[in-house]
């Protein structure tokens, strides 16, 4: 599964740590998601979509 979390983060100019703090996870979780090493749960995907103001489909794709 691919994602464009890194791109969305760059648009908002926030670091991995800032995103991690905002959605209540660790920095290594954001790193693992961005590098396709971990697929987040529905709950975490929804939190990210709410944070970026995008739908889950816009953030994640098969």
């Amino acid at each position: 599964m691919k994602n464009n979390i890194r791109v969305e983060r760059a648009i908002l100019r926030i670091s991995q740590q800032e995103l991690a703090d905002a959605i209540g996870v660790t920095r290594q979780t954001i790193y693992a998601i961005e590098n396709d090493k971990f697929i987040p749960s529905t709950e975490l995907a929804l939190k990210m979509s709410a944070y970026f103001g995008k739908t889950v489909n816009e953030l994640f794709s098969l």
């Binding site: 991995q16 996870v25 660790t26 971990f38 749960s41």
Partner: protein, 151 residues
């Protein structure tokens, strides 16, 4: 999402590490008491062994099954993957040690004590706990290091 249903609070991890450090120190003290200085008769040495066993068991339990400062779903998935790898590693070691011990018994090799010790060690749940701790801690360290290089 609550991932820590079966985990002890983070404070137990510190206790676990302290007990783990205490293990070799206790071993040294008991070896000195029972063998070196012979302060206590040798026949009571089994109590020393029992104490070290209990300290090792509780340290493994506290370090292995206590939550991280910030326990999230990624760490939870790391735990699950580490448990799976631990099962494979322990299974291979258990089978290998069983085959080696049986082969040596068949060939009537002398001084098998050390091989039986390994056989017992690889069949022990505490050993599996320590293998799990090494695998999980290494993976967590690796991800933390990699993540620290990213912006």
């Amino acid at each position: 999402m609550n991932h820590n249903r079966y985990l002890l609070p983070h404070s137990f991890q510190r206790i676990g590490w302290a007990l783990l450090i205490a293990c070799p120190i206790l071993l040294g003290i008991f070896l000195w008491i029972f063998n070196g200085a012979e302060l206590i008769p040798q026949k009571y040495s089994r109590f020393g062994t029992l104490i070290i066993y209990l300290v090792a068991a509780f340290s493994a339990l506290f370090v292995g099954l206590s939550e991280e400062k910030q326990e999230d779903e990624f760490i939870h998935s790391l735990r699950l993957r580490s448990v799976a790898l631990t099962a494979f590693v322990c299974f291979v070691l258990m089978i290998l040690s069983a085959v080696i011990v049986d082969t040596l018994v068949a060939f009537r090799v002398q001084n098998m004590g050390v091989f039986f010790s390994f056989y017992q060690l690889f069949n022990s749940i505490i050993f599996a706990f320590f293998v799990y701790i090494v695998i999980f801690r290494y993976r967590l360290y690796k991800y933390r290091k990699e993540a620290s290089h990213e912006e």
